[in-house]
């Protein structure tokens, strides 16, 4: 009887120690792996801004490697080097790291792997995260529909995969709401980042008479082409691209990864981490629409701010369609 009391006390004191102290950010180091340059003005830069925010907010030690190709071996080499140096949280920020991360999560159970835009996870140390980019894309469609005079809008799109198709349909839904006569024509480039291919695609669209261009691409080439032709441009990823074509820039659906990075790292440090598939919407701040340029009509601007509130409040969500185009889109989902 006395002995079981002692054991009970021991267990309680161990639990108390585990809960009470030891939650220290210095025990963790986070490494980020980017597919593009950290200052690409687009996708990878958005993640790097998030990383810097994470450092400011939590003081955790971080490191990053840029320009790591979407190839299993390349990712593994970089990630293993970090693990050897004691990094125990690894963020992989492009879809192509999927298989490598899934395998490494099994091999290194003490390291937490977080994969952006992937769909695989396990129950312990491997999760994925992404954002509802279709929400701000819908809002940008409202602006595009109001600004077109030729009723022709162009969309320079990367690959025909669900993420991109969903974005185009959400955009076209917004266009249709303010301008039922306008069409959205899609050209696929089959590259996430290809300044020349993007320029060619943008010019091909401009020649058909479009006067507003949107993009699912990582370089601002579409904006440069739009500006040269006197057209308007809806960018993507970050607002940094606007410096390349300030005359054409209207707005951009943008990423803000910082708050998510802080939240997930704090959950790890406080031992509350759950390996999940995180899909943050505008209510989390992960995705948003960048400030509108002054040439957006004021009634459109107020409609956009009204819809923004509805989306954040949960009373409205643009439809998710990712296996076909809605009726005001010209193009095909199976090129």
């Amino acid at each position: 009887m006395r002995r079981s009391w002692a054991v009970g006390l021991l267990i309680i004191s161990i639990l108390a120690m585990a809960c009470g102290g030891a939650a220290d950010v210095d025990d963790y180091k986070a490494a980020f792996v980017y597919v593009g340059p950290a200052d690409d003005g687009g996708w990878s830069q958005a993640h790097d801004v998030g990383r810097q925010y994470l450092v400011e907010q939590t003081g955790i030690e971080t490191a990053y490697t840029e320009l790591v190709p979407e190839d299993a071996t390349e990712f593994r080499t970089v990630a293993e080097a970090y693990i050897e140096q004691g990094y125990n949280i690894i963020f992989g920020t492009t879809f192509g790291y999927l298989d490598a991360m899934a395998e490494m999560a099994e091999e290194y159970p003490d390291v937490i792997f977080l994969h952006c835009s992937g769909y695989l996870k396990n129950d312990t140390n491997f999760g994925n995260y992404f954002g509802k980019m279709y929400q701000p894309r819908y809002l940008s469609g409202l602006a595009a529909g109001a600004m077109t005079e030729s009723n022709k809008i162009g969309y320079v799109a990367a690959f025909p995969i669900p993420e991109v198709i969903r974005g185009i349909n959400a955009f076209a839904t917004g266009v249709k709401e303010v301008n039922p006569d306008a069409t959205v024509e899609v050209v696929w480039t089959f590259t996430w980042f290809g300044p020349e291919a993007e320029t060619q695609a943008a010019n091909a669209l401009l020649e058909t008479g479009v006067d507003v261009l949107a993009q699912h691409q990582d370089s601002p080439s579409t904006g440069i082409a739009a500006e040269a032709a006197g057209a308007k441009w809806i960018s993507y990823n970050t607002a940094y691209g606007q410096d390349a074509a300030p005359g054409a820039f209207v707005t951009a659906p943008v990423w803000d990864w910082g708050p998510y990075y802080v939240e997930v790292v704090e959950s790890i440090v406080n031992d509350k981490f759950v390996a999940e598939a995180y899909w943050g919407g505008m209510d989390t701040g992960l995705v948003s629409l960048y400030e509108l340029s002054s040439d957006v009509p004021s009634d459109t601007a107020s409609l956009i701010s009204q819809r923004t509130d509805e989306i954040i409040g949960g009373s409205f969500d643009p439809p998710i369609v990712e296996d076909e185009f809605i009726d005001n889109v010209i193009g095909t989902v199976n090129p």
């Binding site: 340059p37 300044p195 060619q200 091909a204 058909t208 940094y240 410096d243 095909t332």
Partner: protein, 307 residues
């Protein structure tokens, strides 16, 4: 609307062709002297980034073009030194030049990623909406016309001048050229640096006019298409120009096919230049008994002791 699209296609064809042609013409001169330089991609990139940086900092297009051309030429002298002076393997050295050129331009271009170019090469005659082929031809920028002049000069120099005959002699038969007392090393060195200068001009055309922007991977394989183009053109300037128009047309057509309502995989459009090049090689081999026009000594280092 159809007219605007057709003129747009023509314009894009000429732009894509100019970029490919200038680099290919330079490589043609280098290869004529018996030196294979696989570093075209790297040289274009070095020319592109140094021209862009100069244009941003000085806002002088003239200076930007000069700096782009000279830096790519200086960069190609690495290949000339390794292959002509040190007599090392040309394939390896050329590949290293490509990798080095791409990395070097990423490094020095880093602070300039995404910067807006305030000055860019404009059309000599500004025609707002060209409605026929002549107006499209007249609305190109200066480098396009320089490319045409370079084509005529190169064809003339190679065929009609003593200097051109010497280059060809060295590329065709090193030992005879040596017995005739030709300065092999000097000629090959110059031919390689001229090739680099041409690639630099092509790079400047890319970042000062065609895609006026700088970021990593701007050249996206153009250098390799230029190499295929030299083979397609049978080492002849005019046929190379024809090939450039054809490859440029394919490149311009790719995204436009989608706006015409045709759905064709862009992957197929992307590999077409290489397929055509292989078909031409096979065709020439059958028709002309293997005489594709390649200089006979290409890729072979010259050691006088081995005569």
């Amino acid at each position: 609307m159809i007219d605007v699209q057709l003129m747009g296609l023509l314009n894009a064809t000429l732009q894509a062709a100019t970029l490919l042609f200038i680099a290919a013409l330079g490589e043609l001169i280098t290869e004529k002297s018996g030196i294979l330089n696989l570093g075209v991609e790297g040289m274009i990139s070095v020319g592109a980034v140094s021209g862009f940086i100069t244009a941003i900092n000085t806002e002088s297009l003239f200076l930007a073009v000069i700096v782009g051309v000279l830096s790519a030429s200086a960069f190609s002298s690495i290949h000339a030194f390794v292959t002509v002076v040190l007599k090392q393997d040309q394939t390896v050295s050329g590949l290293i030049l490509t990798i080095l050129g791409l990395s070097l331009s990423s490094l020095i271009g880093k602070p300039y990623v995404g910067k807006k170019l305030e000055v860019k090469l404009e059309s000599l005659i500004d025609i707002a909406e060209p409605s026929n082929i002549f107006q499209v031809l007249l609305s190109q920028n200066l480098i396009f016309y320089i490319a045409i002049l370079l084509m005529i000069f190169t064809a003339y120099i190679l065929k009609k001048t003593m200097f051109g005959r010497r280059i060809e002699a060295i590329g065709e038969d090193l030992k005879s050229a040596d017995s005739m007392g030709l300065k092999i090393a000097k000629t090959q060195f110059i031919a390689t640096c001229v090739g680099g200068a041409f690639a630099g001009l092509s790079g400047v055309y890319l970042t000062l006019s065609y895609v006026p922007y700088w970021t990593d991977g701007m050249t996206s394989g153009r250098g390799w298409i230029a190499l295929a183009l030299v083979i397609f053109g049978g080492w002849k300037p005019y046929r190379t120009a024809f090939g450039a128009l054809l490859f440029g047309f394919l490149e311009a057509l790719g995204p436009r096919l989608q706006t015409y309502g045709f759905e064709m995989s862009p992957y197929i459009v992307k590999i077409t230049p290489y397929i055509i090049t292989i078909l031409v090689l096979v065709f020439l081999t059958i028709i002309k008994n293997g005489n594709t026009g390649a200089p006979k000594n290409i890729g072979i280092p010259f050691f006088r002791e081995n005569r």
